[in-house]
């Protein structure tokens, strides 16, 4: 146990960049992704930054980034390597998986890598599902600490502060554990050009999904995708008094 490398596995997803205004496609079954900027899910970037900081503090030996997607996703894994991850694993699949199948796949990766900590974003900004980390923790039978705004490792456990509706909740979890990250955990570093070049030489393993024995069948079918009804622009007032009068007129006060 003592000389096994203390490894952190960070799971990342390729998503439409958060600055892009998404448009529904012509078939109305998804959004337009052709020619659209794709990035690492912002929450996963925070997860990776945290893993790197833990390693830099000497509390971990190795940071592995992992993704479950098509070969295009290598781009985002390279970004992760450029940020500072030691190596990458792409579980390659041509179809998009539902969160449970992603969690099952990550569970298979976890069995191979035996990490002491798995970090991933609390949600991906495309599906906004907020499921994968919790599902992975369940399948693995290990603790989960979601929506983390602070993570402190000490020996065989971690103290995690979580952003919850009522404030901040503090949990102690035994390691290994799954922690999902919230926005205020850290601010991810910028990648410098030499790092991008260096990242090209770091190992990136590609594992076909079929090799992991995961049932990737879909349980849900997206019947229709549409834009929400727009709220129209209302009225403009010139003074605070007029604003209060307008509220009065609407009967809101």
């Amino acid at each position: 146990m003592t000389d096994a490398p203390r490894r952190i596995l960070v799971c990342i997803k390729r998503v439409v960049d958060y600055n892009v205004r998404v448009r529904v496609d012509n078939e109305r079954t998804g959004v337009v992704t052709d020619g659209v900027k794709m990035s690492v899910n912002p929450f996963d970037e925070i997860a990776l930054e945290e893993a790197l900081r833990i390693r830099e503090r000497g509390d971990a030996d190795e940071v592995v980034v992992c993704a479950v997607g098509s070969s295009d996703w290598q781009q985002q894994l390279r970004t992760g390597l450029a940020m500072g991850a030691d190596r990458a694993v792409l579980v390659e699949t041509g179809t998009s998986l539902e969160p449970l199948a992603v969690a099952q796949t990550l569970h298979a990766v976890v069995q191979r890598e035996a990490p002491m900590l798995v970090l991933l974003g609390k949600q991906a900004i495309d599906g906004d599902n907020n499921q994968t980390g919790q599902m992975l923790a369940a399948l693995w039978g290990r603790p989960q600490a979601t929506f983390a705004s602070s993570i402190v490792l000490s020996g065989e456990s971690a103290r995690v502060e979580r952003e919850v509706d009522a404030g901040l909740e503090v949990l102690d979890v035994d390691l290994p554990a799954v922690v999902t990250t919230d926005l205020r955990l850290n601010e991810p570093r910028y990648v410098k050009l030499p790092e991008i070049l260096k990242a090209k030489r770091k190992p990136l393993d590609v594992v076909p999904l079929g090799e992991l024995g995961v049932d990737a069948g879909r349980r849900f079918r997206v019947v229709r995708v549409e834009e929400p009804p727009r709220r129209g622009r209302g009225i403009q007032v010139d003074t605070a008094e007029q604003l209060v009068a307008a509220l009065d007129e609407k009967g809101v006060l």
Partner: protein, 321 residues
């Protein structure tokens, strides 16, 4: 026919409104039964909280499970108990609050079934509408009506089911599941209990980066107080430390549906707007006439917040007289 199990959310003393909203969602599923399961740390709390859940219109039966491990229970402790209870149901629902978001996927994975997050409408018992991409698209999703389904209910889309005329029966149950000890609750650092709750308030006044400091953010609180409103904040205001994290409104904060939302010095980024789309009336004050918040505001005022907010407070006082 749907048999729905709802996991009650409570704070130790009261069952939260999010539970009655789940009941309202379940009512759209042509249910044969809507049972609510309440977990508590001791029999007294279980009886009290169970009684509150039994008082919600549309509830068929309440299952109250008392166990010392359920005081401040974490997802890893609750999930196996829910799985134990869930076998006889077609749908297992929880609220799309941090409580339900944390817990329900763990339940789904243990059951080996998928989850629909943030149900905003039920078109049929196995067909739902939900937001994705920060609310910029609405998906209609369906699954085969054979297996079990786990879902979280988007609170801003539902009105709580009202009080029942006669309470549902309560059944005390024991935990048979093996409960893990690998996760320990340490403490909850709660904030500002003296204010109206952001998630349920009918009026919300929120401030953004414009305020520039925690001291200046007091202006937001003063206007909120005048209106009897809860205080909210943009991510920028929370990140900068003007407001606490539990006040963040938006894609990654709280999604709310008050009667009145007042956005002060908030630009209106899509991630913020997704949290307020269901508000009945949106008011925006911003000195930039091009700010995107004005595109969805019902009443807009182009002004400096440091002048407009004191003027609004004065105008509201004037009105009272």
């Amino acid at each position: 026919m749907a048999r729905v199990l709802i996991v009650a959310e409570h704070d130790g003393s009261s069952v939260l409104q999010s539970t009655a909203k789940c009941v309202a969602c379940a009512a759209q599923m042509e249910p044969e039964a809507v049972d609510v399961v309440v977990f508590a740390g001791d029999p007294d709390s279980a009886a009290r909280l169970g009684g509150q859940a039994a008082g919600i219109e549309g509830v068929t039966r309440v299952l109250a499970i008392a166990d010392p491990a359920n005081a401040h229970a974490v997802a890893a402790v609750l999930a196996p108990q829910i799985v134990d209870t869930a076998r006889e149901y077609s749908h297992v629902l929880g609220p799309s609050t941090t409580f339900g978001k944390d817990l329900m996927p763990r339940v789904a994975a243990l059951l080996g079934v998928g989850q629909i997050s943030d149900i905003m409408a039920v078109e049929a018992p196995y067909r739902f509408r939900r937001p994705a991409y920060a609310g910029n698209v609405i998906e209609t999703v369906e699954c085969e009506p054979d297996g079990m389904l786990v879902g979280t209910v988007r609170a801003a889309s539902y009105r709580p089911s009202p009080a029942a005329s006669s309470p549902a029966p309560i059944e005390q149950r024991e935990t048979s599941a093996d409960l893990p000890r690998h996760t320990l609750f340490v403490e909850l650092k709660a904030q500002q209990a003296d204010r109206p709750d952001l998630q349920t308030a009918s009026r919300v006044v929120a401030g953004g980066r414009a305020f520039g400091s925690a001291e200046n953010f007091a202006l937001v609180e003063q206007l909120a107080e005048k209106l009897g409103a809860a205080v909210g904040a943009s991510r920028a205001a929370v990140d900068a430390g003007y407001a606490s994290n539990d006040l963040q409104v938006g894609q990654t904060g709280k999604v709310i549906a008050p009667d009145l939302y007042v956005a002060l010095g908030i630009s209106g980024a899509i991630q913020h707007l997704t949290g307020i789309k269901d508000a009945r009336t949106i008011v925006a004050v911003n000195r930039d006439p091009e700010a995107p918040i004005f595109e969805i505001a019902d009443i807009g005022l182009v002004a400096d917040v440091f002048e407009a907010v004191p003027a609004l407070i004065a105008a509201l006082e004037q009105r009272r007289r």
